[in-house]
């Protein structure tokens, strides 16, 4: 935003224009009435002079001569043919007189000058004052905007703390606060639901997991065990998300040789991915959490994208790339959301893997970015610091 388009200067300009218009109108009125009064006085003086001692002023101007109708008609005429040397004529049949109006003209011009100077002086005072006064609401508006941006960036505890005032700015600030509180409530409800579901499922699931292991071997048992495994992964993911939501997680940092680590991590997922390493980068980070991030990205690339999946380690940046349809627009815009995988062409899923990856990245202070490669395919980037 250009500073000259700020509300402060808009208000100052408005005040300047309004003051200018008022000054112009008052100035014109004063000028007009002063001029009229000096004309009246000039007429009286000219007629008095005509009665007293009519001198011969020489040939009458045509405009005056045309006005003289007959005897006993007295006419006056303001002669400004030379604007700097005005005269007031008074005439009757065969008699005429003219008097100098130069003094009045000079007085009028001095008055005009004073009006202009006074107007400029007032403008010079009023515009900075208006700009200063506009700074107060401006400051409050900027705070509201800052708070709204913080809320948009995910800080749902942010409030404008607008205070009292009852004007429109307090109104909009209160509305932003209400919006943030409503968002916060919704998020809390979502988080509590996730945690409750996961905790409630855990005990029966534990019994199910151990009981399924006791079943006699067979095709049916394999089916049951497979579904138990899926159910278990889902519950464990939910539990992990609810722990991340609670914000009680902390990183346990050690030196990690990234090249070997990425290779091991891909190997543990049991999925195919081509790992390329540039140099011999070492990062100080939490290996268990980094493993969760990379494993989830690789699994996600296989589940929702298409092979080949490429893992590239360059410095402390790790990218996981697939050759599928790419991330859906909603994910690129809003980041990963639980139970939302966006486009159906990306296949089934719970949207939990990327939510976990993003949450774990926050814990270890890494930046996790999602993008689509220009030639197609999803690219997830982990930047460790």
């Amino acid at each position: 935003m250009s500073p000259w388009r700020s509300l402060r200067w808009q208000i100052a300009a408005l005040v300047a224009v309004a003051s200018g218009v008022v000054a112009l109108a008052v100035g014109l009125l004063v000028h007009r009435s002063t001029f009229d009064r000096s004309l009246n006085l000039g007429r009286d003086r000219a007629l008095t002079a005509l009665m007293a001692d009519p001198a011969d002023p020489g040939p009458l101007p045509a405009a005056l001569a045309a006005q003289i109708g007959g005897p006993d008609t007295y006419v006056t005429w303001y002669d400004d043919r030379d604007p700097d040397v005005p005269w007031m004529w008074a005439a009757t049949t065969a008699k005429a007189v003219r008097i100098d109006m130069g003094g009045e003209l000079r007085n009028l011009r001095a008055l005009d000058r004073h009006i202009v100077l006074a107007s400029l002086g007032v403008l010079g005072l009023v515009v900075p004052l208006a700009a200063l006064a506009a700074e107060l609401p401006n400051h409050r508006l900027r705070r509201v905007a800052r708070t709204a941006r913080r809320v948009a960036d995910g800080d749902l505890e942010a409030r404008t703390s607008a205070g009292r005032g009852g004007d429109e700015i307090t109104g909009i600030a209160a509305a932003v606060d209400t919006m943030a509180a409503a968002l916060h409530d919704r998020l809390r409800t979502e988080q509590r639901f996730t945690a409750d579901v996961a905790h409630e499922l855990r005990t029966p699931l534990t019994g199910l997991v151990t009981s399924a292991e006791l079943l006699p071997e067979g095709e049916a048992t394999d089916l049951v065990r497979d579904r138990v495994r899926v159910l278990r992964t889902l519950v464990e993911n939910l539990l992990e998300i609810s722990r991340l939501d609670a914000g009680a997680e902390s990183a346990d940092r050690v030196e990690v040789p990234l090249g070997r680590f990425a290779g091991d991590c891909v190997h543990r997922t049991g999925l195919a991915a081509e790992v390329t390493v540039h140099g011999d980068p070492i990062a100080v980070t939490d290996p268990r959490r980094l493993d969760r991030i990379l494993a989830n990205l690789v699994v996600n690339a296989h589940r929702h994208g298409r092979a080949p999946v490429e893992v590239r380690v360059a410095g402390t940046t790790i990218t996981v790339r697939d050759h599928g349809p790419g991330f859906p627009a909603s994910l690129l815009a809003e980041g990963p959301r639980r139970f939302r995988t966006g486009a159906s062409e990306r296949g089934r899923g719970h949207g939990l893997g990327l939510t976990i990856a993003a949450g774990q990245a926050r814990v270890i202070g890494a930046r996790l970015g999602f993008a689509n490669a220009p030639e197609g395919g999803a690219v997830a980037t982990v930047r460790l610091n």
């Binding site: 905790h199 005990t203 534990t206 019994g207 997991v209 519950v235 722990r243 290996p287």
Partner: protein, 220 residues
């Protein structure tokens, strides 16, 4: 004579299925459905390992753990229903040697039990190791502080033997998890921190030095 495990767990399905699974692996399993019964069964004797749920009616797992530790050094494995930091830390502080998070595969559970039951087996003929007023006898598995014999739980003893074998050398948490607890690579390092704390209480706080950001070492 097979190894006897006392399982204290309130959920009937988990108690029965874990019991049956452990029996398949050759363990003898006695079980109790609440903390007080568990304590009674334990006091009647003959158990080589305690497998405890954290959330129990009556006396909870942490309380039970503390009561058992007053008189016994038997290995204790906690099953944490929540995996919450608080549960795990209070369990380990109360004297548990390790924990598993529910739901755990039987194979994982058995691996943890085996690691806890594994006796420290140093090479024969290892001489006594002396560090100031601390004396470690790796053959007799005895530890003396200022000439007085102290009793260490098996995990504490294994941790001390690991330190004693590398005096003055910094051992990081991952190494200790691998060598003492038999974890592959993804163990929880709080287990190490809390066991080191318990060891310090017994052999003197300044004997095991914290090297910030790396791990621990035994002062020579």
């Amino acid at each position: 004579m097979s190894v006897s495990v006392l399982l204290v767990e309130d959920d009937e399905v988990i108690r029965r299925s874990v019991g049956m699974a452990l029996e398949r692996y050759g363990y003898r399993v006695a079980s109790a459905a609440d903390g007080l019964t568990g304590l009674e069964r334990f006091r009647s004797g003959g158990h080589d390992l305690l497998l405890l749920d954290v959330m129990l009616p009556g006396l909870d797992g942490i309380g039970l753990c503390r009561r058992v530790r007053e008189t016994s050094l038997v290995p204790i494995l906690m099953m944490s229903a929540r995996g919450d930091a608080l549960d795990v830390v209070s369990g380990l502080e109360a004297g548990a040697d390790d924990y598993v998070v529910k739901p755990a595969d039987t194979s994982v559970l058995v691996a943890r039990i085996r690691a806890l039951l594994r006796r420290a087996t140093p090479a024969p003929g290892t001489p006594r190791l002396v560090f100031g007023d601390l004396t470690v006898d790796p053959e007799a598995l005895e530890v003396y502080v200022a000439g007085e014999r102290i009793s260490l739980a098996p995990t504490e003893l294994r941790l001390l033997l690991e330190f004693a074998a590398n005096p003055g050398i910094v051992l990081d948490r991952q190494t200790l998890l691998r060598d003492v607890w038999d974890y592959g690579w993804d163990g929880d390092s709080r287990v190490v921190d809390l066991c080191v704390q318990r060891l310090r209480r017994k052999i003197g706080a300044d004997r095991v030095e914290t090297v910030r950001g790396f791990g621990y070492k035994l002062r020579r």
